[in-house]
């Protein structure tokens, strides 16, 4: 480089802009862009399912009760009677006065399952 740097030389040097090489920058940034989008999609689908369930309950609560009972029957038939789910529930809440019918147990199990699933990240 000349000892007395001329304006032309400096301009020519400045006119060759340096470029930083990619080195995974685009890939990492795209991942960051995609992350919230995927989460949003999951939240939307969960909200959609919840809305459908609500609509189903509001449309026909009796039908829902029947469905839950059927589901409960199937669910309980999977376990041996010795497991004593009803007895377990009654012993857990001895003085609560809650009627531990099949739908109640099924609802209880559903709530527990939902709670467990909510523990995992969406």
């Amino acid at each position: 480089m000349n000892s007395d740097l001329e304006d032309k030389t400096l301009n020519a040097l400045l006119a060759q802009p340096t470029q930083v090489s990619d080195r995974g920058f685009c890939r990492d940034t795209l991942k960051l862009i995609e992350k919230p989008a995927a989460r949003k999609a999951k939240i939307f689908s969960a909200a959609g399912i919840a809305w459908l369930a609500l609509a189903f309950v509001l449309a026909s609560p009796a039908e829902l009760n029947l469905q839950i009972q059927k589901f409960g029957d199937i669910f309980l038939s999977l376990f041996p009677k010795s497991l004593g789910l009803v007895e377990l529930a009654q012993s857990s809440f001895p003085s609560s006065g809650v009627d531990f019918t099949l739908p109640t147990i099924v609802l209880f199990i559903s709530v527990v399952l939902l709670w467990l699933s909510s523990m995992t990240r969406i």
Binding site: M1, S3, L10, L14, P17, Q19, V20, C26
Partner: protein, 197 residues
């Protein structure tokens, strides 16, 4: 003449490609198209930010924020100016915001001076003169460096640079004049030191 025409053809082809990528990314939220756009512009946006904040990690953080923010705001890009100009504007605002938030302009300048070796391995094919220039750029204030980079390195007019930096045209011209003066002094001093050895 023929070479100039060839350059113009190439430039217009690139511009058309860029436009179609922007449309795809905007209308369909096509991440692949946006990825290609990012590949086209990341090199200069990151080099610009390195010149401003003098720290490689911070520059990359800001560059990521710039591209994420640009993707979210793609609908607001009117297309009246260049896409790269719009990106530079977001990047510069991100830089100013970060400096304002952390109130560490002096701190960054100090770390810049301390971290005075250019990481040549991060750049694409750097000549010895370019390394000297990048080292000298590190001594400039961000506003001087930004004005010089935009007008002399990336080919923006004073008016366009003023829009990107949100400052009057006169200020941009003053910053360029002052910055180039400082660069000349620094580079001449370096040459004298090398020559005397």
């Amino acid at each position: 003449m023929a070479r100039r025409r060839l350059e113009i053809d190439l430039f217009s082809k690139l511009l058309n490609k860029e436009r179609s990528l922007i449309q795809r990314a905007r209308a369909l939220h096509d991440r692949e198209a946006y990825g290609t756009l990012m590949q086209l512009h990341q090199g200069k946006v990151r080099a610009f930010l390195i010149r401003l904040c003098h720290r490689y990690d911070l520059a990359d953080d800001l560059a990521q924020e710039t591209f994420i923010s640009a993707f979210k705001k793609l609908d607001t890009f009117k297309g009246s100016g260049s896409f790269s100009g719009w990106l530079f504007q977001i990047a510069y605002n991100k830089f100013l915001q970060r400096m304002k938030d952390e109130k560490r302009r002096e701190e960054v300048t100090i770390s810049y001076v301390l971290e005075n070796a250019v990481k040549t391995e991060l750049y694409e094919g750097m000549s010895a003169d370019q390394i000297d220039l990048e080292n000298a750029m590190r001594s400039l204030k961000p506003e001087l460096s930004a004005a010089i980079s935009l007008c002399h390195s990336y080919g923006y007019s004073h008016r366009e640079a003023a829009d990107i930096l949100n400052t009057p045209v006169g200020t941009v011209k003053t910053h360029i004049l002052r910055g180039k003066g400082q660069l000349r002094t620094l580079l001449n001093a370096k040459t004298r030191v090398v020559g005397s050895k």
